[in-house]
Amino acid sequence: MHVSRKINIYRTILNPFDRPCLRATYMKASIIEEVAFQLIKRASIVLPKDVKVALQKAYEEETSKLGKTQLKAILDNVTAAEQMGRPVCQDTGIVSFFIRGRSLDYKNFEEALRRATIRATREVPLRPNAVHPLTRKNSEDNTGAHIPGITHIYEDADHIDLVVTLKGAGSENMSALYMISPSEGINGIKRAVVETVASAGGQPCPPIVVNVGIGGTVDLTLKLAKIALIRPLGTRHREGEVAKLEEELLTLINSTGVGPMGLGGKITALDVKIEYAHCHTASLPVGVNIQCWADRRATARIYPDGSWELLS
């Protein structure tokens, strides 16, 4: 298929020196396809443990009565979805994959991920969400130009970590990119993030997860926010200064009073995660990607011999 020959720009950005490597794990496409299918299925039905723990904690800590009714309904829904084997939300979102590992046989990989998406749409089933942006014609199988999205993050390891995220439109629509003045500094970053959350109100289905990309160039800024998206809740950035900003932002957001589903309360966000890149001395891009409470992601580690395990 001609689509598979497109250049993956983000691979180039994140790993400019990446070269096809003889040590690379040329895994069988059939294994990749099977793992990817299992991951999509799991992600659509079962929330990751870190998300379930965060929702439970939110329910216990929320003091607003209305907010508590919403968190109770969310927890009941999560349990019912697992018991009945049904997608946790009817908007099963847009499928995106993240691959952490060395260079790989990209063409085969992309084909396998595409086939897995088509199969999952039919068998789970997922709602067919992917449409042409101009004609609005639905492909009916959740694939299309550049979809499912694939991001390669270089890591020098023999195994590959494959992550899938399913992201609904309600929260994605509330995302934003700011080009703030560098002189505004950290306060400017805080203002951008908190105002995005406050003006979104109940629309992105809070409690949300706020994933922020800081610095870079505009494309990289938002890609960094997406890389923050695949980091489990409750984990802090490896650098103290960034970790501190994550915590300060979480406190600020949870002081706005937006609350669960925007009905008021103290739990507006479950977590804030940041990734950064150096940027031009004259710019300070901030990308804010909002994730609804149904933070659907699943991760597997695939070994060179073709065996694999579910990580979350």
Partner: protein
């Protein structure tokens, strides 16, 4: 924050008693309707024709269900609420032409809708966004489906429900809107939080 259990068709006097922040569970029959069904309902009324459903005391649910046919019977797989603001333009006309008593959705609706609710004697209720399986569990039976030509999500699904909820009254029949009240509070807090 009183709790009510109401049965359809809803009576105007029961609906007018509801205040914002009240919790409601509905049993009986509800109709799903999104953008296209709203358009068709309004067109019918403007042509002086009757819709295929009894609209007196009805409950309109903003949802596009995923349904499947098992042994010739429809089953609702998931039926979470969709974003109501897309129906902001159509709703005042819907309420003008039909005695709808309750609208259920997520995210809230405009000031124009608040005024139309007041005029008609109806309320808007919030249902937890994404709670698709929970909603499907409240559906006991698909009584029938109309206008399937609009596509599965846009069709009018007539659902028999039991204790459909918890629904939170967020816009009452006196023109009050919880969204407007909360937005002012959030803006006020923001001004203090971002003062440096």
């Amino acid at each position: 924050m009183a709790e009510y259990r109401l049965a359809t068709p809803l009576r105007e006097e029961d609906v007018r008693k509801l205040n914002i922040e009240d919790v409601v569970y509905v049993s009986g029959v509800i109709y799903t309707a999104r953008d296209m069904a709203h358009k068709r309902l309004i067109e019918l009324a403007e042509r002086g024709q009757k819709p295929p459903l009894e609209m007196d005391g009805s409950v309109i649910y903003h949802a596009g269900p995923v349904a499947r046919k098992l042994d010739g019977e429809w089953e609702i797989v998931s039926a979470g609420p969709t974003t109501s603001s897309r129906m902001n333009r159509a709703t005042p006309l819907l309420l003008k032409y039909y005695p709808v008593r309750m609208i259920v959705g997520k995210g809230g609706m405009s000031r124009e809708v608040a005024e139309a609710l007041k005029e008609r004697g109806a309320v808007y209720c919030h249902y937890t966004g994404g709670a698709a399986v929970l909603a499907a569990k409240c559906v006991k039976r698909v009584a029938r489906v109309e206008w399937l030509d609009l596509g599965m999500p846009e069709a009018l699904w007539v659902l028999e429900v039991e204790n459909f909820g918890p629904l939170i009254v967020t816009m009452d029949s006196r023109g009050n809107s919880l969204y407007e009240k909360l937005e002012l509070e959030v803006r006020d807090r923001l001004r203090r939080l971002l003062k440096w």
